[in-house]
């Protein structure tokens, strides 16, 4: 479970998040949408502390990650993240990408890590690519490997920051399909996305951010067919 309370984030004088409060329950899939520059990525990156919140509190399970005493490395092991531009480790094979962190951080045996990694690669349909280097893969394949890499730590929560925005259109579906399966398996997910169809179909809730403010928080049907705020109405008119 993720709980966010009055989250503020400023870059210098620029206040990007202006007091966001929300909660994401276990097994819930939340789509975060909003115009460019509204603070979606910043919000997501605060949740695993890639950005240091300026003010407010964030709990992951029962741990307050804004507390300096909290072992953030430990928390991050439980919170996987998938980036727009994949960020696979280019000097490692696909298999090594998946086994590196579990071996380094969880201190499991190599055979265990590899067995687990192969299972995940199977799941995302890329077991045959285990020995390839990332630059031999297509964008969609890279992103599926990146998802598998995050899953290799066996996290309870997954964060996605526009996972399909850097992909050629024909590769979007293969990544969304993997995410759909993950959502149905009960994973807790927060997904920043411009794929409105996907948000509508898969998300349990939609968070609409604008200007660093959480303007709407509603189930997708309600949000897409009957947005309350004029800002959401404007936004949907432009993108749909």
């Amino acid at each position: 479970m993720i709980k966010v309370e009055k989250l503020h984030k400023s870059f210098g004088k620029n206040e990007v998040l202006k007091g966001i409060s929300t909660q994401i329950n276990n097994g819930e899939v939340v789509a975060i949408i909003g115009p460019s520059g509204s603070g979606k990525s910043t919000f997501l990156r605060c949740i695993n502390k890639l950005e240091e919140p300026t003010n407010g509190k964030i709990w992951i399970k029962d741990e307050d990650i804004t507390d300096r005493q909290t072992d953030i490395l430990k928390v991050r092991q439980n919170v996987g993240m998938v980036f727009q531009h994949f960020h696979l480790f280019p000097h490692m094979t696909v298999l090594e990408n998946l086994t590196y962190a579990p071996l380094k951080v969880k201190k499991i045996t190599k055979s265990e890590a590899e067995k687990n990694a192969m299972k995940l690669l199977e799941k995302v349909g890329l077991a045959v690519k285990a020995q390839e280097y990332p630059n031999k893969l297509s964008g969609g394949q890279k992103q599926r490997v990146a998802i598998a890499r995050a899953l290799a730590m066996n996290p309870e929560i997954m964060l996605f920051d526009e996972p399909t925005s850097a992909l050629d259109p024909e590769m979007v579906k293969e990544v969304l399909d993997v995410m759909k399966t993950l959502a149905h398996s009960g994973m807790t997910m927060a997904i920043v996305t411009h794929e409105m169809g996907f948000a509508r179909e898969v998300a349990d809730r939609v968070l609409f951010l604008d200007g660093g403010v959480l303007v709407e928080d509603a189930p997708p049907n309600e949000f897409f067919s009957n947005p309350k705020s004029s800002r959401a109405q404007d936004f949907l008119q432009k993108v749909l």
Binding site: L50, L73, R76, Q77, V79, G80, H87, Y100
Partner: protein
């Protein structure tokens, strides 16, 4: 101009004996300078302002003063500072190591900063601590940018090592000079020394190209 190598050639083995010293200085100073350079570069990219400042001040001083001055301070200053005279070779190794560390730290810093920030963030997001992230993720990738520049630094070091002549170290350069002084005939032994250095540098350049080619083929 009439060159006569016949009277100098018997001294060639004497000059070549200096190669040992030259190589010793270059190798040890190169390795120590590299290690210190890594530490300095990590200080430069650290979030701690004090470390940034110290590493930058270090680089600034060693790049802002003549190398020969640094060598002489270490060699001739040792009795005053340490209470005893350190050997010329030791002084040379320390001096070149400290000096090349300043240059190498800049090379490594630039190499590290050229790596996409996303690499570090991906490791962070997986819960990997800073140190293994640097050692396993960032530095291996940075090495591809760093190695060619590092090889250049090594070549520079080889040539500049001739400066140790000034603190009495019997390297190739000094031996060539001594042969010249003994025979009142400088041109030939100095040319021989020049050929020796040139061959050394050519070998290093060749090795550098080899390594670079290896790196490129692994892309």
């Amino acid at each position: 101009m009439n060159l006569d190598f016949t009277s100098v050639l018997p001294s060639l083995p004497f000059i070549l004996q200096g190669l040992g010293v030259t190589l010793q200085i270059v190798c040890l100073a190169g390795i120590l300078g590299f290690l210190l350079g890594i530490i300095l570069s990590l200080c430069k990219i650290s979030k701690m302002k004090l470390l940034n400042w110290l590493a930058n001040a270090y680089t600034s001083v060693f790049r802002g003063t003549p190398l020969i001055l640094q060598l002489m301070i270490i060699y001739f200053g040792s009795p005053q500072v340490l209470g005893f005279q350190i050997e010329g070779v030791t002084a040379a190794i320390i001096g070149f190591a400290l000096n090349s560390a300043a240059y190498i730290s800049e090379i490594i810093r630039a190499g590290i900063q050229a790596i996409d920030k996303g690499q570090q963030e991906a490791a962070m997001a997986l819960g990997v601590p800073y140190r293994p992230t640097m050692i396993n993720i960032i530095l291996p990738q940075a090495m591809k940018n760093i190695l060619p520049a590092l090889m250049n630094e090594f070549i520079t070091l080889t040539k500049e090592s001739a400066l140790v002549t000034t603190i009495g170290v019997m390297d190739v350069m000094r031996r060539a000079y001594q042969v010249g002084a003994n025979q009142y005939q400088f041109m030939e032994p100095l040319l021989l020394a020049g050929i020796i250095y040139y061959i050394l540098v050519t070998i290093l350049t060749f090795l550098g190209k080899l390594v670079e080619g290896r790196l490129r083929s692994s892309d």
